[in-house]
Amino acid sequence: MALKMVKGSIDRMFDKNLQDLVRGIRNHKEDEAKYISQCIDEIKQELKQDNIAVKANAVCKLTYLQMLGYDISWAAFNIIEVMSASKFTFKRIGYLAASQCFHEGTDVIMLTTNQIRKDLSSPNQYDTGVALTGLSCFVTPDLARDLANDIMTLMSHTKPYIRKKAVLIMYKVFLKYPESLRPAFPRLKEKLEDPDPGVQSAAVNVICELARRNPKNYLSLAPLFFKLMTSSTNNWVLIKIIKLFGALTPLEPRLGKKLIEPLTNLIHSTSAMSLLYECVNTVIAVLISLSSGMPNHSASIQLCVQKLRILIEDSDQNLKYLGLLAMSKILKTHPKSVQSHKDLILQCLDDKDESIRLRALDLLYGMVSKKNLMEIVKKLMIHVDKAEGTTYRDELLTKIIDICSQSNYQYITNFEWYISILVELTRLEGTRHGHLIAAQMLDVAIRVKAIRKFAVSQMAMLLDNAHLIASNTQRNGICEVLYAAAWICGEFSEHLQEPNQTLEAMLRPKVTTLPGHIQAVYVQNMVKLYASILQQKEEAGEKESSQEITQLMIDRLPQFVQSADLEVQERASCILQLIKYIQKLQAKEVPVAEEVIALFAGELNPVAPKAQKKVPVPEGLDLDTWINEPPSDSESEDEKPKTIFHDEEQRHSRQRQPEMDEEELARRREVRKQEQANNPFYIKSSPSPQKRYQDTPGVEHIPVVQIDLSVPLKVPGMPMSDQYVKLEEERRHKQRLEKDKKKKKQKKEKKGKHHRHNSLHTESDEDIAPAQHVDIITEEMPENALPSDEDDKDPNDPYKALDIDLDKPLADSEKLPVQKHRNTENLKSPDTEAPLGEDLDFWLSPAPPPVSTTQTQSEPEVSTAIAEPEDHEEPNKEDREEEEDDEGKKSSKHKKKKHKKEKEEKSKDKKKSKKKHHHSEEEPVESVQNGTLDDEPLPPMSSYHLLAENPYIKMTYDIQGNLQNDSQVTVSVIFENKSTSFVKSMELNVLDSLNTKMIRPEGSSVHDGIPVPFQLPPGISNEAQFVFTLQSIVMAQKLKGTLSFIVKNDEGSTHEKLDFKLHFSCASYLITTPCYSDAFAKLLESGDLHMNSIKVDGISISFQHLLAKICFHHHFSVVERVDSCASMYSRSIQGHHVCLLVKKGENSVSVDGKCNESTLLSNLLDEMKETLSMC
């Protein structure tokens, strides 16, 4: 044995170690592969030896080779051997190799389970550490399940070194074994407050990652994270927390409001760029999530934009890049604030770095306006000319098209200019985006009727110069534009100046070198062209030239008949026969033009790109059933029936609409209009919302608009878009002058001063009238088109499994599997979670006015304070259950809780009501505590009332007065999705009354609804707030309203509506305001208050309970209480004081009220009577 050992170590001396291997590889540069294969052979020999040191050395070398790209999976078993070495130096080599090359498919991995468990529980912290590190790389679902409990135990290890690693590994375990999340979560949460900052940061990391995927389950942690954020100084941790908040705010707008202040503070104070960047990002996310009803965040936006400007102006390219990236996020919601930095962004277009230029391009998209579009595109065109790389140039090209075509060509004032730009773009060599340009040409020519004439002339020119475009290479993408050119010239041939010349161009032999699909379009359109020429000639009575043109066709068409492309061949031979027939007729001097032109009569309407997809399947049609029974397999192959739709030729994308009778058309249009009006996604068509259709079929139904061209149509040679820029300038200048003149006149009439200011042209977009009066035709959609088709989430998303409600208490079945021999140290069942959702609501609700001292606590403290009443709640609940279960038997548990039991007996009479309320929305009781001195528990009350309900959705609402504004109240509506479908695109609208109006975002009319800023997955509820203005608050009000929404499930989506009545009670105009007794007395003495009183009989509840009810439902606070008599106070949002004296008799309650507005008082008392009589 000893000898063997000696032999082993002698062997080792001759073995290569890692250094030798590396050196060796460097010395064998020429025959590296050979040298390495030789080394691998040596390693294989070494691995066969018993000496663990030799094996470890071999594995170490293998790890290096693996990095170079050599497969070492054959050594998996040896790696496990080395992993199980007792010496740490070897063990770590084994784990390193394993972490580099093991993966889920490695089959020997299951052999490691026990070894890893042993290492995890090793007394040496580094053994445990290395096992954890390794595990993070190769954990499988099986390993995760078997080891979850061990790792969870390690999360509470004494050494922070182990704790932090264990916490981080848990993330991987959750991913592989989602069932472990719920049992482990309480402990993970505990780690957020670990004394060691490293562990803390690890926990933040894990929760941040989890929350990014399924944010809604982590909302309840927001208060805790908020505390961490305001206390932590570690920038890495701060970044993570802030990122986490960025994921949470879209779900909870109130959270955003709370965050703005600390975030802006951080932005001001931090010197770390990464942190600054993260803060800005989250502030942006917050601002996006805040609904438009919340004003006054322009300051934060301004701050962000300013900071970003500093980043962009920095000489560090990295900062510049990030600045632009963040800027583009702001652009989406606040384009105005970004637009003011146009200069800077245009400057970035000239940057040396391509990535920066690309980012700047993204921004340009949002910066254009009618005013600057031409200028910006001109600049881009210069870049296109200068760009050296094709990728960048292609990017520029797509951006130009994107910018110009955005929102239905909203910013284009001069379409001739745009066509010229497109034509100029065709001169790009080697671009891949020919089809894009072609699509734009077609789209513009079809939809902008006024431009057709010009477009046709340009396209004819392109066809004429086709040799320039198609000459370069076969696969040149740009020749796609000829497709568009040929089609436009054919379809709108009536606009052609010299149709003969164009036809000639289309018949050139060179055309046959174009790709097949383009030739096919050529063939089809030359007939259209031919037809219109024929008509012209016949009308003019030029018989000869019409025969000439027929002869030309007959001469040239055969070159297409010989085409290798089937489509071209088929079309060409059909047409050739047709024309031969025409020739015969012409010979007989029969007029044919009318009939030929009739072949192509009718207008082609643009069809929306998704129209086909959106045609609903008619009722009763099942596409999956067989029309004929499928043939049995025994049938021979060639007898198989052909599939029915197979033979139909590939349809042209712009298919001719089948002619429909007049009535049908009109009806469909009506339906469609309705649909469009109701569809929030529908982009309203054109800058000039003229009648889109008249109810006559055929060509006439597209209104022909008078063209008012200020540019001469005949532009010699290729057009230069620059001309248009100049012309446009002139035109605008003229417009301005006219306007100035008018203004001057007005001024002169007044005084004639300040006339200089007018020449500083600060024209806005609206001032620029488009050069042509343009009517953009909307794309057609099938009737009953389904309004939306969002992509569904990827069903294979590994994070989906982690979408688990973490606030539910643990069930026994969910505990982690524990190894049997370890049963002694039984896993402590994690504490049942308190219903944190309520805490969150409380934490998020705006802080009450700091009048009384008890309410001036800082926020994080409040959140901890809330935990107390729940402690009362929990045992009570348990006791109650026990009592019900076994009334007679007093369990030992029962005795232990005797003191609690006693307390409970006091409130026995309330048990029932409590039970009833148990599942309803519970509102923290603290809000009424300011007057209650007894610790008698109060039943949970909810201030949320049912608004409306249907099988899909339940709405409950609460109205709160606004402290800052004396004529506003905020209505919080909780939307609860009761169905199993996805509810989205909710939009809430009310019918404003003279007195009460909903505040809508700027620019929307009173008939527009307000979109609810979230969607609801099944079973989820969320809250949205809407602000209303009121003039008079002395009376209760009712508003009718509707919630419209889309229900989406497997079957499809349906539009639903839910009507409701919003009841503004007088109490909702009151704000709970504490009042000191001396101030109260003075108020009563002042004598300018009106008085009123009510009396209610048959009250059975305690006085305490009664006061709580008044406090809670009617927003009063108790000023003083003596025995069964109490004085109460509240204030309305418009400053009316309301004082009450509540006295309780045997079975009755009397309320005396005083207020400086008598109507308000009597209404309030009426409401109170109603509440009290329900007691």
Binding site: G198, Y321, L322
Partner: protein, 138 residues
């Protein structure tokens, strides 16, 4: 970690990638990095993720991140990593990394676990490694 010749000196994957794809990926990534000049920013959009790189003499350190990650933080982390290497090897060179691959891995594992940053304190990162070196000596 790749040198100017495109040879990988250290690679670490936090999500499993097949071996042959790794080599391809590494080659493409380094090609991307090498094609950039000093005046260009250190972030490259590559497929559906982002590359953050930093150059130290002939060595490139490249980190692939998804779009939710903070680019600047990763950029700073790279420097932190190099500082730790510098401290351990006292003026680190490419050769140090090649010959002590396992040690560099330990350092990296101490700093980044599971794709998350664990530790950024230099002495705490090096503590386990120093213990190890002591063990090896005895």
């Amino acid at each position: 970690m790749v040198n100017k010749q495109g040879q990988t000196r250290l690679s670490r994957y936090y999500e499993h990638v097949e071996l042959h794809k790794r080599t391809l990926l590494e080659a493409e990534v380094i090609k991307n990095c090498l094609s950039r000049s000093k005046y260009q920013c250190s972030f490259i959009e590559y497929k559906d993720f982002k590359l953050v790189y930093r150059q130290y003499a002939a060595l490139f350190i490249v980190v692939g991140i998804n779009e939710t990650e903070n680019e600047m933080a990763v950029y700073e982390l790279i420097h932190n990593f190099v500082e730790v290497l510098d401290k351990y090897f006292s003026r680190v060179s490419e050769l140090d990394i090649m010959f002590n691959l396992d040690r560099v891995h330990i350092i990296l594992d101490e700093m980044v676990l599971n794709g998350c940053i664990v530790e950024t304190n230099r002495s705490r990162i090096l503590a386990p490694l120093l213990v190890l070196d002591k063990m090896a000596e005895t």
